[in-house]
């Protein structure tokens, strides 16, 4: 323990050098901007900056990438709140309440709650990374295919919180999302499904194109609806807040603590990541709230739950990468590439063989989460100008960024066409009151559920009860069942109470 504190002290001493501080500030700022651009994820940002790290010292490079990662996960909330288009998939639930707040003239309030919640979650995950990496590494090994399948099912049963008022239509969209996720090679034998001899779809339909198409383009068309009419898209800003008072944030302490814990646990699960953490946390916040019906109408609780969890999961992602050499997400895979290029082999021996760079990284990861909290205040003031931009300029600019995002994800214009087609379909279905969030949920969780289902049967020799025989998997399955029946039980108890009253 004494050695750990000594190493942490050395890590901070190394992190607090001028080149490293400049790298962290640059990485964080670039990360926030990239995260705020629809279609540009943390992975894209880190991949674009990876060549820059070749010519700078190893600690500088790693801290810059950490800044991009954490900045981008937070930055996704900016466009989610201001224009209702999540900059990253992890901010999808943030848009449910953040965007209505922005339309109501409370954009700055929403952005501030997102920033403070993200900072709390990020700092918590940095502390866990710093002190508990070896312990969590051993815990993470317990996550096998049955556990991942159970996490996926738990996430899928969250659909009840995003279906909206028309349950059948919500379930239809969730099912369509799951179906679309099966397009391409099947996870067991690699047999192509539903691609109709088009080799472009052998790897499936590009996720970024579908997210931009179903969430962003309908938003653009909604802005077009209000052009040349008396209809107002954004109400005037009601306040010019620069910061949140402590009391305003502490009012949400239970939500923050719960969301942090959810983010930390889900972040440790391989391939779960910030997106699933945010979805699960949003649903739990809604179920625990005294006013669940208000979620989705523009309350801070939804923003706080989503942003705390997605930033709290970043540390867990890194634990897997550093301690086990297993990237927890695509962004961590890029980070692992940077480690290997610099001659550091991720895995159980990393901390033993290279303690100084590792603990410098841990210290820097904490500093980066504090940095984006400071830098974020400036972006909030700049971001507030977005809602004042005339829609005739804003709508086409958003379209351009969406096209770039869809194209840049795999340098293919086919994804742009997919985005446009799915966008027009989503707009039309949205008018018929088919909600899009369940579709996205199905799209994200489909591959996780299917691949891990077959892998579980393979390792258990076709034992379908494997999901209840392993304790961790059984725990998640029970949580999933409780999540599914909780709204029904809650409604029944409420009806019983009103009958007796």
């Amino acid at each position: 323990m004494h050695d750990t504190f000594q190493l942490i002290a050395v890590g901070f001493a190394h992190a607090f050098t001028l080149p490293n501080i400049i790298a962290m500030i640059a990485g964080t700022s670039i990360g926030i901007i990239i995260g705020a651009l629809p279609g540009m994820s943390a992975t894209t940002g880190m991949a674009l900056l990876l060549p820059v790290t070749f010519n700078i010292p190893v600690e500088c490079g790693l801290l810059m990438l950490a800044g991009v990662y954490c900045g981008a996960v937070y930055g996704g909330s900016i466009s989610a709140i201001l224009v209702g288009i999540p900059g990253t998939a992890a901010s999808i639930p943030t848009a449910f309440d953040g965007f209505p707040m922005a339309k109501d003239g409370r954009a700055r309030e929403a952005l501030l709650f997102a920033l403070y919640a993200s900072a709390v979650g990020g700092v918590a995950s940095a502390l866990v990374l710093m002190f508990l990496t070896p312990v969590i590494g051993r815990f993470a090994l317990k996550f096998g295919p049955p556990e991942m399948f159970a996490v996926g099912i738990w996430g899928m049963f969250m659909v009840s919180s995003v279906v909206g008022k028309d349950v059948i239509k919500g379930l239809i969209m969730a099912t369509i999302g799951l179906i679309v996720s099966t397009v391409g090679a099947d996870p067991v034998n690699g047999v192509p499904r539903m691609i109709f001899d088009n080799v472009n779809f052998i790897g499936g339909i590009e996720f970024v194109s579908l997210v931009l198409g179903t969430l962003a383009l309908p938003r653009v068309l909604e802005m077009v609806e209000t052009l040349r009419t008396e209809k107002v898209f954004y109400k005037a800003l009601v306040s010019r807040k620069w910061y949140l008072k402590p009391g305003e944030l502490f009012r949400h302490w239970a939500n923050i603590v719960r969301s942090t814990i959810i983010g930390l646990i889900v972040g440790i699960a391989p391939a779960a990541g910030p997106t699933i953490a945010a979805i699960i946390s949003y649903n739990q916040a809604k179920q625990s709230s005294k006013y669940p019906d208000k979620f989705g109408t523009g309350i801070a609780d939804g923003v706080v739950a989503s942003e705390t969890a997605n930033n709290a999961s970043t540390g867990g992602d890194m634990v897997l990468t550093l301690a086990l050499g297993v990237p927890g997400s695509a962004a961590c895979a890029v980070f692992m590439g940077a480690l290997i290029i610099k001659g550091l082999q991720p895995g159980p021996q990393l901390m033993r063989n290279n303690p100084i760079p590792v603990y410098t990284f841990f210290a820097g990861f904490l500093l980066v989460n504090i940095l984006f909290f400071i830098i974020g205040h400036f972006f909030i003031q700049a971001g507030g100008q977005v809602v004042r931009t005339p829609l005739q300029i804003l709508a086409p600019c958003i379209l351009v960024f969406c096209v770039l995002g869809a194209y840049a994800s795999s340098n293919s214009l086919i994804n742009v066409n997919i985005m446009v087609i799915s966008g027009l379909a989503a707009y039309f279905l949205g008018k018929l009151r088919f909600p899009m969030p369940p579709f996205i949920l199905g799209l994200i969780l489909g591959p996780l559920i299917e691949a891990n289902f077959w892998a579980s049967l393979l390792i258990s020799y076709n034992d379908y009860l494997i999901f209840f025989k392993r304790p961790l998997a059984a725990g998640f399955m029970i949580l999933a069942i409780l999540t599914l029946i909780a709204p029904t039980v809650h409604g029944w108890m409420k009806a019983k109470k009103s009958r007796t009253a």
């Binding site: 379930l171 539903m194 209000t226 446009v420």
Partner: protein
């Protein structure tokens, strides 16, 4: 509209189910189960209660907006990103009713297109389409 949508979902599901008929059990199992669920839910949609009217506001402008999106996506490989984006921005702002001096629109469109081009293709090194 709900009934028509439900029927379209059922027809698409049947067509795609038919396309899966030659696949192995592991490859077809998940999609078959999901299509079955979709058909069942679509039947609920068809035979369920009619829930009021659906309105499409400002349909003409939305149709023009959709056309702009489609043409923009198709023209990028033909005329290149900077020119297509500049023309699209100029045209969209004009169609949207942006008010100002006649030279403001093309200048603003060129400036925006130029900045976006420089940031993405020069600074970040994204390959041009």
């Amino acid at each position: 509209m709900d009934r028509i949508t439900g029927m379209i979902f059922i027809l698409l599901s049947c067509f795609l189910l038919w396309s899966l008929r030659t696949l192995s059990f592991e490859a077809a199992a998940f999609p078959v189960v999901l299509f079955s669920i979709l058909i069942l839910l679509s039947l609920f949609l068809i035979f369920g209660h009619w829930r009021g009217r659906y309105t499409f506001e400002n349909a003409r402008h939305v149709a023009v907006g959709a056309l702009v999106m489609i043409v923009y996506g198709l023209m990028i490989p033909v005329t290149g990103f900077p020119i297509t984006t500049g023309v699209m921005l100029w045209g969209s702002m004009w169609l949207g009713g942006y008010k100002g001096y006649w030279y403001k629109l093309p200048l603003l469109a060129a400036l925006l297109a130029g900045c976006i081009y420089w940031v993405f293709f020069i600074l970040l090194g994204v390959p041009e389409p």
